[in-house]
């Protein structure tokens, strides 16, 4: 059984790393948001894997992942809204152009 857990966790880790790679390297803000979703889903996958194969299996993990998906949806809505606002202001979605944090 634990071998099943390991493969789920590996898949989640791969997904997380792809997401992280996307967040850190992609120039388009949309793709960065997408990558964040990937990372979130990797976490969700972990939650579900542990709820099934963990030390103390229970339904809580799955409920938790449902919450997480809902929050992720809300987050994406806010994220896209900010992105559109940025696009309207700056006329671009290139992350390199956004360096307001500097000042």
């Amino acid at each position: 059984m634990s071998s099943m857990l390991a493969s789920y966790l590996t898949l989640a880790a791969i997904l997380f790393c792809i997401g992280l790679y996307g967040v850190l390297t992609k120039r388009s803000a949309v793709i960065v948001l997408l990558s964040i979703e990937l990372m979130l889903n990797a976490v969700n996958l972990n939650l579900i894997a542990f709820s099934k194969y963990g030390v103390v299996p229970s339904l809580k993990g799955q409920v938790f992942s449902l919450f997480s998906i809902a929050i992720a949806a809300a987050e994406v809505a806010v994220g896209i809204a900010i992105l559109i606002a940025l696009y309207r202001n700056r006329g671009t979605t290139n992350v390199d152009e956004f360096n307001e944090l500097r000042n």
């Binding site: 956004f98 360096n99 944090l101 000042n103």
Partner: protein, 658 residues
Amino acid sequence: MESVYAQYVWAVPIFPLLTFLLLTLARSAAKGAAAFVGVGSSLIACVLSILILLERLTANTDVYTVNFDWLSFGAVQFELGYELTNLNALMLVIVTVVSTLVNLYAKGYMADDERQSVFFAYIGLFTFSMLGLVLSPNLLQLYIFWELVGVCSFLLIGFWYERSSARAAAKKAFIMTRIGDVGLLIAILILFWHMPNHALDFQTIAQVFASADTMSQYGISAGLATWIASLIFLGAIGKSGQFPLHTWLPDAMEGPTPISALIHAATMVAAGVYLVARAFDIFQVSQTALLIVASVGGFTAIFAATIAIAQRDMKRILAYSTVSQLGYMMLALGLGAVTAGIFHLFTHAFFKALLFLGAGSVIHAVHTQNIFQIDGRGHNMKITAWTFAIGALALSGVPPLSGFWSKDAILSVAWESNKLLFVVGIITAFLTAFYMSRLFFMAFTGASALSTSETAVEASGAADGARRKPDASSIVHKETESTIHESPAVMTIPLIVLAILAVVAGFVYTPINSGFETWLTGEAAGDHTNWIVIILSTIVALSGIGLGYVVYGPNGVREDRWSSVLKPLYHLIERKYYVDELYTLFFVYPLKVLGKVLYVFDRYIIDGVVRCTASCTVQFGKLFTRVQNGQLQSYGLLSLYGFSALLLLLLLLGKGLW
């Protein structure tokens, strides 16, 4: 008999101090009244000190001391107070009389000066310091006032501070006397260390240094006493303008003339002589120290007298004459003759103040200090001329004027104890008579005194009066005979009073009237009548004047004819033996080079290190500002790196990941 006035002796210095405080507070508001405040308060002090002196002359001759605690820590106590002895009762009179007359004179002399009230305030402080110094019962308090006198002289010499020469002279006076002050301070410290109970008062000093026995009883060796005495004398050298620290005194002529009179007659320079006389108990036990005092004094006397014969500036001649006469006093003290030294200080105070004030009167009228430019134009000023003549005769030592008696007292002591110093003294007396007659005949007699339509040589920029008003200095002063008037009465009255004093002051202590010595030192007076000395000094004085008359009199050549014959010697003397130049070469120049070296060191090494530190910090900071680029992604990447590094660290340390 109970003393009546002695208990009020503290009030003598208080009045000049009040002048100072009052005029400093009032400042410009007191402008017109400043002179009256100055004259009035010093007159009160003067009357009081004369009463005290008279009382001590007639009845009460005990030492009157009042002390109160100032500082005490552990077993050591410092006291302040005042002490009245016959010596300082006499000094009080000298200081207050001269100060009063100078105040009065300055009322006329400084009449159109902007900063009149400041001037009178400074004089008040100066007089206060000197009186405090005289009344000090211990060396520490004396040292405090000693420094105050130094500060006041600095303020007054540099009174016309808009002139760079006055500033330089003030600084020079302050620094040169500082060198001596260090000696005095070290002497005080040594005394403090070795004296029983760390006592510094003169009475204890007198007990300890009474004889070789008492000294060894208190564990003070003869060598130590010599050191202490020599260091105290170093202080006196600085203040009294003895060789080799004399150069500040002639430069101090940059101050207003009344100040020159005050410094040269009653206060500053008298402080050194007074100190040696006051601490004479210490000198007495050391033959070496006495010899040093006598030789320095004798050398200074003849050294300064030779310089004076080649100077052209009226006030400078008088300044070198002061240096020379102070040398005389030191000579007397070094030969153990305190009475003769103080007596000369006493008489000298009056005739030297007279000469300076007279010179000021002439300068005030003709606006030049060069005697060859004055060239007899002083003859219209009858009172000034006559009083100046009396002063010059007194200084030259013509009987029966005061200078004769005091000089005779010194010379007869020298005759008995040291023939070499006697010869030095008699040559100095001759030179003194010669340069004084040169000064007098050049300034008050001559061809121009006879002609009526002589156009004066235009005043040089060096003129005292012209420099006082910078805006007027560009105007050429064409003083013709008719424009030279006698000075106003406020200036001539002090001259007359001083002239009378210069005549009669000598009768205090004559060969037939030697009670003064008993009174002053408490020892039985020895017979010091010495006809050989009297006759010799008279001949020398008269021949000096005679030579002066032949060369510089109305019918003489009226120029330094020997300057062309003995050119190198003349230049040597005219340039004051190049002492200032030597100081420049050996002290000022090396110090400047050292300063430059240290400047370069400071500029490039010390500053370099500081700047390097600063720029390293800045560069280091810049390195990290590049990290803050506002790019969210690079922040994230860095966080990732950091997280990975932490994980790696945990793994390497073998703690496991959880």
